[in-house]
Amino acid sequence: MSTGHKHDGDHHDHDHEHPAAPMVEEITDYEVLEIAVRELAIEHGLFTAEDHRRFTEWAESIGPINGSRLVAKAWKDPAFKALVLEDGVKACKEGLGLDWAEPTGFGTPSDYTNFIVLEDTPTLHHVIVCTLCSCYPRPILGMSPEWYRTTNYRRRLVRWPREVLAEFGLILPPEVEIRVEDSNQKCRFMVLPVQPKGTENWTEEQLAAIVTRDCMIGVALPRPGRTADVHPIHKARRPVQASAQHGSAAE
């Protein structure tokens, strides 16, 4: 028997072929429930399968661009900033034409219509999490990033925020108060970061480009020159050779 395959305390005989583990797609009880309810609704004519697909396509295509616009507009216009901080839902409607009540008249079932924008200052930094599930301001930022929904981020951010932020590459001095916002009920939150120095004369469009999704969750700070469409590339130190050459060299 191969020595690299030793199970301590496991008495079963290894002198046989291991059958390949079947490829089973993992599905949770909630996914089963969702499919059952959806199929029932379609069967009863509440909506069609195509309606469902179109809604899903629309919901998943909302990106963070409206959030970026909201921040840029607030930076440029103090009166609008005051409205953003006073009534986030109203600011979205008046400043961006974004209606939190869409598409049902009372929002989507788990987004609600209570939106609070948290203002950072040079001595206060906000960061958002939902320890219960994945509450996120979807109407304005779109779907949350995959890591935002992981238990790892959710359980650790409330307890070790500085360590978690450092893992995102954000290290803040102890004088800056870090305020974690655990979004556990019906309010949805977004961060209004501090406008970075050197951007005072930028246009709204230029400013919006540096307010990326992560800046509005609070795991990053906006910086001139750092936009969502340009990402760092680190070339491999030992690039893979063309496979034919590599194969013949090895033999």
């Binding site: 209570n114 609070i116 305020r179 916002e181 556990n184 309010c187």
Partner: protein
Amino acid sequence: MKAKSEAPKASHAATRFKVGDRVRVRNMPNMFYTRTQSYVRGVIGTIAACTYKDLIPEEDAFNYDGKVEQYYIVRFRQKDLWEEYPFDNDTLQTESPEHWLEPV
């Protein structure tokens, strides 16, 4: 349930707490659905905002149109939540319906 008879009917009563009030999160048994995290139970914080009135999670979760209550954002010092927390200034906020809070 005791909590139920104690909690004021917010739709008829004035808001119990105001911004700046010190409150303790109650530690009630998890008999039904709740959205009150265990890590804030029994901890003292400060009301940071009065947000909205809505159904309470214990009833909303079962689609029961029951009591409507005032919700609050409560601010805690991280040092009060986690004994070993090393930074004095850091805080955490979370939201709670009225019946989970008691005056200090």
